[in-house]
Symmetry: D2
Subunit: 185 residues, 4 copies
C-alpha cells in the first residue's frame, strides 16, 4: 500500500501494523447476505459471489469486509456492498441497527464452528435487499441469484465451480481485504 | 357490512360476529412505524398520521390494523400501509419475518401498559421505510414526517392538534377498523 | 368441555364457538423450543416431545398452544411449558418481548410453507432455556434432549418412532389444544 | 501491566500497543444491562453501578468491557459480569447470539450520539438476567436495582450521587479497562 493511499485513507493500517494487531485484538467485520425481495418483502433470491482463490480454485462468498477506524457499520456495509456488487447495486440498508447474528472466527479451528487462519474476527451479519443491478467487481468472477430453497437444500453446485467451497466461510471471506492489506501481491 | 362485501372479502367478519369473537379471542394486529431513511439506512423521519376522533378532537396515530383470516402478516402490512399512506407510498417491507416488538392491548387498563377498550389485541410491530410519496387516505387529516429527536423528546405538539393524544396508543390505533367493522355509527 | 370448566376458565371458548371463530379469524399461538444451556448460554440440548397421534403413530413436537383471551404471551408460554414439561421444568422466559420468528399456518397447504388444516394460526416462536427437570404430561410419551448438531443434521430418528413426523409441524402442533377443545366435552 | 500478567493473559496487549491499536482499529466491546426478572421473564429491576471517577465525582455505569483476543463474546460477557457484580451474581446469558443493539463510540463527539475520547469502540449490547446475589467489585462504590419506570423516566438521582453522570456513557464505560491499561502498571 503506497504512502499516499495511507494519507487519504487514515482508517487503513499499514500492512505490518495490521498483521501485528491481528495477533492481538479481535477485528470487526461486516457480512452481508444480498437478497432480492418482492413488494411484500419476501426473499426471492439470495446473491452469491464466485471468487477465484489463490490456489486456482473458485469458491462462493458473501459480501464481507473489515470495518475501518472511524467508519460506521453502515458505512462499511455500503462500501463493501457497492465495491463487490457495483455502483448500481442500490443496497437497501436496514433501518434496524442490530445484526441478525454475530459470527466469531478464530485462528484455532476448534474454537468455534468458524475458522479464519489469519485472525480473530467478530462479524456482524446483515440481510440486505438489493434494488439495483449487480455488476461484480473485477476480483469476483460471477454473481448469481439463487432461490431460497436452493440455499436451504444446499443445491448450489454449478458447472462453473471446479470444486465446492474448500474450507468453509473462512476461505472465501478473508479474500476481501487481501489486495489492500497484504500488499501488491 | 353488506352481504356482497362479505362475499368479496371472505376474511372480514360480519360486525356482530367480530364483536362476539372480540370478547373471546385475542385479535391479531399489525402496527407499522413509517420511516424515511437515507442511503445508509439511517432514519431521517418518522411518519405520524393525525386523525379525527369521534369526540371531535384530533390525535396522532401510526399505521395499524387487523390481520384478516387467510391474510399473511406481510399482506396485512401492505394493505394497511397503502390504504393509510396512499397507493404511491412504496413501503419497503422488511426481509426479516420477526417484529421488532409485540404489544399486547387489553380491555382492562391495568393488565399491561396498553389499553384497548374493545378487545384483547396482539400487535406485531414493524419499522417500514417509505420510498414513495405519502397521500393519506380520507379519514386521516394530515401526514407528517417528524425527526427522530422530535419523537424521542416528545416534542411533537402542533398547532393543528387541539389537544395531545388523549389516552395513549389505544385511542388512535383502534380507529383504523371502526368504519368497516362497527358500522355506520 | 363441561360447563363448570367454562366458568372457571373464561378465556376458553365453547368448542362450537371456537370452531366458528377458527373459520373467520387468525388464532394466536405461542411455540417454544426448550433448550439446555451451559453457564455461557450456549445451547447444549434441544428438547423434543414425542406424541401419540390419532392414527396410532407417534410424532415429534415442540411446545405449542393457543393464547387465551386476556392472557399475556408470557402467561401462555408459562402455562404451555409447565403443562407439557411438568411443574418442575423451571422455564427461563426471555426478558425480550419479541419472538425470534413468527410462523403463519394456513388451512390451504399452498399458502405458506406451514399447514394447519383446522385454522389460520399466527405462532410467535421463542427459545426457552429449561433450568429444572422435565416430566412430560400424560399425553406425551417421551421427552428427549437432542444435541444441536442432531437437530441441524436432521438425525433425530429413534427406535421409538414408528415413522417420522408425518405431515410437518401442523400434525404435531395442533394436538395441544384438542383434548379440551374438540374432544367429547 | 507487569510482565508476568502479560504472560498469563495472552489476550491483553501491553499498554503502549493497545494505545497504538486504539488509534487505528475499532475495538470490540460488550455491554450488559443486568436485570431482575420474575418467573414470567418480566423485568422487575435494572441494575446500575455507581463508580468513582478520576475527578472525584461518582457516575452510574452499566457493565461494559473489552473483548480480548481469542475470547468469545459469551466469555467476555461472563468475565465482565462476574468481575463487576461478583462471583455469586449467576448471570443468565441469553441463548440467542445476536445483541439487542450495537452502539458505536467515536473519538469525534459529532460522529454519532456516542463519544469515547480514547477510541473507536463497537459495543455489542445484551440484556442479562441476574439470578444470584450481586457484590460489586472494589472499584464500584455501590450497586442498585432500579425499577424499569425509574429508568424510563430518568428519575435515577440519588443522595449518593454528588452529580449525575457527567459526560454520558463514554465517561462511565471506559473505566472498565483503565486500571489494567492506563494505570501506572
Amino acid at each position: 500500500m503506497a504512502t499516499d493511499t495511507v494519507q487519504t485513507s487514515p482508517g487503513w493500517l499499514q500492512p505490518d501494523r495490521l498483521e501485528a494487531a491481528r495477533g492481538q485484538l479481535p477485528i470487526v467485520y461486516i457480512e452481508a447476505v444480498p437478497v432480492r425481495v418482492d413488494h411484500l418483502g419476501r426473499v426471492e433470491g439470495v446473491g452469491l459471489l464466485l471468487r477465484p482463490q489463490p490456489d486456482g480454485t473458485i469458491s462462493r462468498a458473501i459480501v464481507s469486509g473489515r470495518v475501518l477506524h472511524n467508519e460506521t457499520i453502515r458505512e462499511a456495509l455500503w462500501r463493501h456492498l457497492t465495491k463487490d456488487l457495483g455502483a448500481d447495486a442500490d443496497p437497501q440498508l436496514p433501518a434496524a441497527a442490530s445484526p441478525f447474528t454475530v459470527v466469531e472466527y478464530f485462528p484455532d479451528p476448534a474454537r468455534s464452528g468458524f475458522h479464519d487462519p489469519r485472525q480473530h474476527a467478530v462479524a456482524l451479519c446483515f440481510v440486505v435487499p438489493i434494488a439495483g443491478t449487480c455488476r461484480p467487481s473485477q476480483d469476483a468472477l460471477e454473481f448469481s441469484w439463487l432461490t431460497p430453497s436452493d440455499v436451504v437444500n444446499g443445491q448450489i453446485t454449478s458447472e462453473a465451480l471446479r470444486r465446492p467451497r474448500p474450507t468453509g466461510p473462512s476461505r472465501a471471506r478473508p479474500l476481501r481485504d487481501q489486495p489492500q492489506l497484504i500488499g501488491p501481491s
